[in-house]
Symmetry: C2
Subunit: 233 residues, 2 copies
């Protein structure tokens, strides 16, 4: 009989709390190896099963990575987890296109504002190049790649990985939808022109390091997309 099994709460929750506190205290840093599952189980007075359930959770959330035969290691690959969350949130009907677009607008506006202060000549050069290519690119697939690269570049120039992570997570989720929508928009000369203009406007504003103007153009860019969304779907 277990005399003190009912310490409090579920066993695997205790394990998760323990490991998280270890990381918090600094006893476990990124890349470091965790104790073997069997040792953790004995040390915490729980079964290996509970330890594994906890580790599996932490693993899928991106906090640790497991390699059979080697061990469990502290990592921080949070992006996949965020992408999963966003995806499921949309699939379960807890959100819709409008909400996603508004969130993206907030993040991308902030990104372009930060980028206007921090973008370097090399990035500016590439940005200009992309806008130039986008103007003459007729192939849908390649223009989609260029478009993604443009937004990605702005995120990079913003110098905030945190914002980037969320944007990428959202992007991964709705990429199929976005690319399909891009295809529809590119068929329409008016929309295409508007997209090109807003892209160029953003690039120019960044060249001038004019944050307010860059934000204004970014919001105009989203306005175009949102209008097309209502119009085409």
């Amino acid at each position: 009989m277990k005399e003190e099994n009912t310490q409090q709460g579920k066993a695997y929750e205790r394990v998760i709390t323990y490991i998280k506190s270890e990381i918090l205290k600094g006893d476990l840093k990124r890349g470091e190896k965790l104790p073997p599952e069997r040792e953790l189980a004995e040390r915490l007075g729980v079964g290996r099963n509970s330890v594994r359930e906890a580790l599996r959770t932490l693993s899928l959330m991106g906090f640790i990575s497991s390699t059979q035969g080697a061990g469990n290691f502290v990592s921080c690959d949070i992006e996949k987890n965020l992408a999963e969350s966003v995806q499921m949130m949309m699939l379960l009907g807890a959100t819709d296109y409008r909400q996603v677009s508004e969130l993206r607008q907030g993040l991308e506006s902030q990104a372009v504002l930060l980028a206007s202060e921090r973008i370097n000549p090399a990035q500016l050069s590439e940005l200009e190049d992309i806008v130039w290519q986008l103007r003459d690119e007729d192939d849908l697939e390649r223009s989609t790649i260029l478009d993604k690269r443009l937004h990605y570049l702005i995120g990079e120039a913003a110098g905030n990985p945190f914002i980037m992570v969320i944007l990428r997570a959202m992007s991964e989720t709705i990429d199929d939808f976005i690319s399909h929508m891009r295809g529809q928009m590119m068929k329409d000369e008016v929309y295409r022109k508007q997209l090109q203009d807003s892209h160029q406007g953003i690039a120019l504003a960044l060249q001038d390091h004019n944050g307010a103007e860059a934000v204004r153009m970014m919001r105009e860019h989203f306005q175009v997309v949102d209008n097309a969304m209502v119009d085409l779907f």
Copy 2:
């Protein structure tokens, strides 16, 4: 010997994929009960251990909820998961105050912009009341509550749960830090005055449904906080 054990990938990953696809296909909706663990194990040809590891992961990510004796049910409580992610991301040193502040600024600016179009009279009334109370409130704890309520109210008025979820997740994580910082700032008459002014500025802009001005005041608000951050810490 297992003839077909090596179907592909880890067993628990197969289980996760299966359940997620069931939800995606619509065969499993919110609130519905999942098959018992033993049945799932038999149906998928894996051990109950693997099923449990998968369920535990989905549980902590907020996709399902488990009740001993009853069963596992589909849910969509994504907020806890986001909060965990944000928290661990900060703890693992993958981000810092500046990044968090910039993200918050982007989200809150977007929120206040949306709120300026959607806020209703009742919310405006409460907002005015909060700003009024904040001006005369000397007790740190109560002023902290009021401050949180103010930002929460703006998020509500914005009408975008998605943005709210992320803001709340961040708020939960850094609340201790924030409140401590607030305490320091409130001791300084200059900072206190600046906070009050920016709060009032936001409220006035929202009353006028002036989005641009609201965003401007929100950014000024963050400017004050960021300056204090550099100054006091």
